[in-house]
Amino acid sequence: MELAHAAKKQHQPPKSGLFRKDGIKLLLMALPFAAVAFAFSYVPLFGWIYAFFDYKPGIPLSQTPFIGLENFRLMFDDPRMGPVLINTLALSLLSIATAPIPVLFAVMVSEVRSGWFKRLVQTTSTLPHYISWVIVYSLAFSMFSTEGAINAILYKLGISDMPVNVLGNYDRVWTVQTLLLLWKSVGWSAIIYLAAIVSIDSEQYDAAKVDGAGRLRIIWHITIPNIMPTFIVLLLLSISNLLSAGFEQYLVFTNAIVADRIEVLDLYVYRLGLITGDYSYSTAVGIFKSVISIVLLFSVNFLSKKFRGQGIV
C-alpha cells in the first residue's frame, strides 16, 4: 500500500543531456579522491610480486629465485587447508546468520521513549567493542572456567555437580565463539541502523498512525523496509568478506581441545608464518583472499541486481 511505497524514494537518473558538461565537472572533482585511493591502496600492490618469488626480506628481488605459482600449488595441496577453510566458512556464515540481531536491537532502542535510558543503552552496548579480545578472554576465563563465576552459581543453585567446561568444549566451539562475537559487535553494528532509523521520514509514521496501525505493524511496515537497503548492503559486504572470519579472537581462544575447529584461515597462515618465516607464502594467501573477496562481491552484486533490481556497486 502507500506505506510500502512511501519507504522507497530513489534518485532517478536525469532526463536528458542537460547536464553533460556538468558530468565532466563531477568527474574532475572525483578524480583527486580516486588518486588518493590509488596512491595508498593500489600502489602497494606491487608487493604481490613477492608471492611469485622465494622472497626473503633483505635480499633484493633480482637475486631471488623465481618460483611462479609454486605457493599457490602448495596452498591447494595442503591437507590442512580443507579443514581450515571449513572452519572459516562455518564461523563466517554463523556470524552472517546473526546479522538481523543488531537490526532488531536498533529497532528496540529506537522504540524507547525515555531519553536517558536510550542514551544509556546506546553507550553501554558499544562498550564491548572497545575491549580487546585479550581482555575478553580473561573475562571469559574468570566467568567460565571450572572455578569461574558461572560454575560457582550453577553449583550453588544445585543445577549441576560437574563443572561445565565452556571454553574447552569441542562440540560447541562454533556456537560459543559466535555468541562472543555477537556480544562484542551488536552495539557497534547497531549504530549504523540507528542512524538509518532516525532518518526515516516522520510523515510515514504519521500517516500510519492515522490509519490506526499498532506499534508492531508500524515497525514491520515502515521501520524495517526503510532500513532494508542499508541492511542489504551490509549483508552483501559481509558475504564478500567470507574468508576473513577474524583473527585475534581465535588467537586468544584457541587451546588444545578446540584447536581443530577454531583455526581459521588468517590464524593458520599466521602460525605457518611463525614456523617457516615464509613471507612469500603469506603474500600468496593474501592474493587468494583478495581475489575471492572481489569475485564474491561482484557475484552477490549481480544476484542482487537480478532479484532486487539493483545492486550495491
Binding site: 524514494k9 579522491f33 552496548s125 562498550l127 506499534r215
Partner: protein, 306 residues
C-alpha cells in the same frame, strides 16, 4: 478502520493499550539485560584496575580485591605520555574531519548519475577494501612518499575508506530527489548543494562515520610502530603498548628474582592491561553520548513541503 479523509488528524487517546504496555515491558526488559551484560565486563575492568595487582589474581567479581592506584600511577607517570595523548587527540580530531569530508563528498559525487565513468570510479575505490599487500610493500610505499616520521602519515592513508563511502552513498540515495532538483533550479552548483543540503541532511550517517573514524584513529598504533620513531609523534596507544610489553616480559626480571622464585613485583601485566583499557576507553565513553545528539533527523522535510 477509520476513514482517513474524514477523521481529524489528531492522535486519539486510547484507554490503556495493553499491547503497547506489553511491548514496552518486553523492550525494557531485554534492553536492561543487555545493559547488564555489556556493562558488567567494563565494570570488571574498572575494579580490576583499582585492585591490588597481586591480590587481583585470586579473582575479582563484584568488588575490587584490595585497593591500589599503583597501576594508574605507573601508567600516567610514563615519560612522554602527555605529549602522546596530545598527538593521539590531534590525529583523532583532524583525521576524523578529513575522513568525514573526503568520504562524504566523494559519496555525494558518486550518486550523480550524470558523471561519466561513474560506476568505474566507484568500483575502483570500493575494491580497495579487499586489498592488503602486506607490511613490507606498505612500508616501502609510505617511505617512498616521504611519510616516514610525518604527521601526515596518520591522516592521509585513511582519508578515503570504501566502507564509509558505501554507507554514505546508500544514505544519500534515500534522500528525496526533489530537494536537490529545487536547489538546482535555483541555480546552485554541486558543491553548494552538497554543503547546504546533502551534508546537513545526512547528519546521522555522517555522525556514524565520524564515530567510526574517530575510534579508529584513537586506537591505531601500527603506523606509528613501523614508520615513526620521532618521539614527538608517538601516539598514546604505542606508549601504552610499550608499557604493557615491559610488564609482560619475563626476562626483565633480574635473574635473582627468577632464581629465588620471589617474583617480587608490584605490578602484573593483567593490571596494566586493565588500566590501559580504562585510560584509552574512558574518553570515548565520555564523548560518545555527546555525539548522540547528531543522531536526529536533519532539518529536512519542512523545507520541501513548504
Amino acid at each position: 478502520m477509520s476513514n482517513p479523509a474524514s477523521a481529524p488528524p489528531v492522535r486519539r487517546r486510547r484507554a490503556t493499550d495493553w499491547k503497547d504496555v506489553a511491548f514496552n515491558a518486553c523492550n525494557y526488559f531485554f534492553l536492561t539485560v543487555l545493559i547488564i551484560v555489556t556493562i558488567y565486563p567494563f565494570y570488571y575492568i574498572l575494579i580490576y584496575s583499582i585492585s591490588d595487582p597481586i591480590e587481583a589474581q585470586k579473582g575479582v567479581y563484584l568488588w575490587p580485591a584490595g585497593f591500589s592506584l599503583e597501576a594508574y600511577k605507573t601508567t600516567i607517570g610514563l615519560p612522554g605520555i602527555r605529549d602522546a595523548a596530545i598527538v593521539s587527540l590531534g590525529r583523532t580530531v583532524i583525521g576524523t574531519v578529513i575522513t568525514v569530508f573526503c568520504c562524504s563528498f566523494f559519496a555525494y559525487l558518486i550518486t550523480k548519475h550524470e558523471m561519466p565513468f561513474r560506476s568505474t570510479i566507484y568500483r575502483f575505490v570500493l575494491v580497495t577494501m579487499y586489498f592488503n599487500a602486506g607490511f613490507i610493500p606498505w612500508y616501502l610505499t609510505m617511505k617512498a612518499y616521504g611519510l616516514q616520521n610525518s604527521f601526515m602519515l596518520y591522516l592521509l592513508p585513511s582519508a578515503l575508506v570504501g566502507f564509509n563511502v558505501i554507507l554514505i552513498k546508500t544514505f544519500i540515495e534515500q534522500l528525496p530527489a526533489s530537494l536537490e532538483e529545487s536547489a538546482k533550479i535555483d541555480g546552485a552548483g554541486y558543491v553548494r548543494i552538497f554543503t547546504s543540503i546533502v551534508f546537513p541532511l545526512s547528519m546521522p550517517i555522517i555522525a556514524t562515520i565520524a564515530v567510526f573514524a574517530a575510534v579508529g584513529q584513537w586506537n591505531t598504533w601500527f603506523d606509528n610502530y613501523f614508520l615513526v620513531s620521532d618521539p614527538k609523534l608517538q601516539t598514546l596507544q604505542l606508549v601504552l603498548y610499550n608499557l604493557l610489553n615491559q610488564t609482560s616480559n619475563l626476562s626483565n626480571l633480574t635473574s635473582e628474582q627468577l632464581t629465588r622464585g620471589d617474583l617480587v613485583r608490584t605490578m602484573t601485566p593483567q593490571s596494566i592491561r586493565m588500566t590501559i583499557t580504562m585510560i584509552v576507553t574512558l574518553p570515548i565513553v565520555l564523548v560518545y553520548p555527546l555525539l548522540q545528539r547528531y543522531f536526529v533527523k536533519g532539518i529536512m522535510l519542512g523545507a520541501v513541503k513548504g
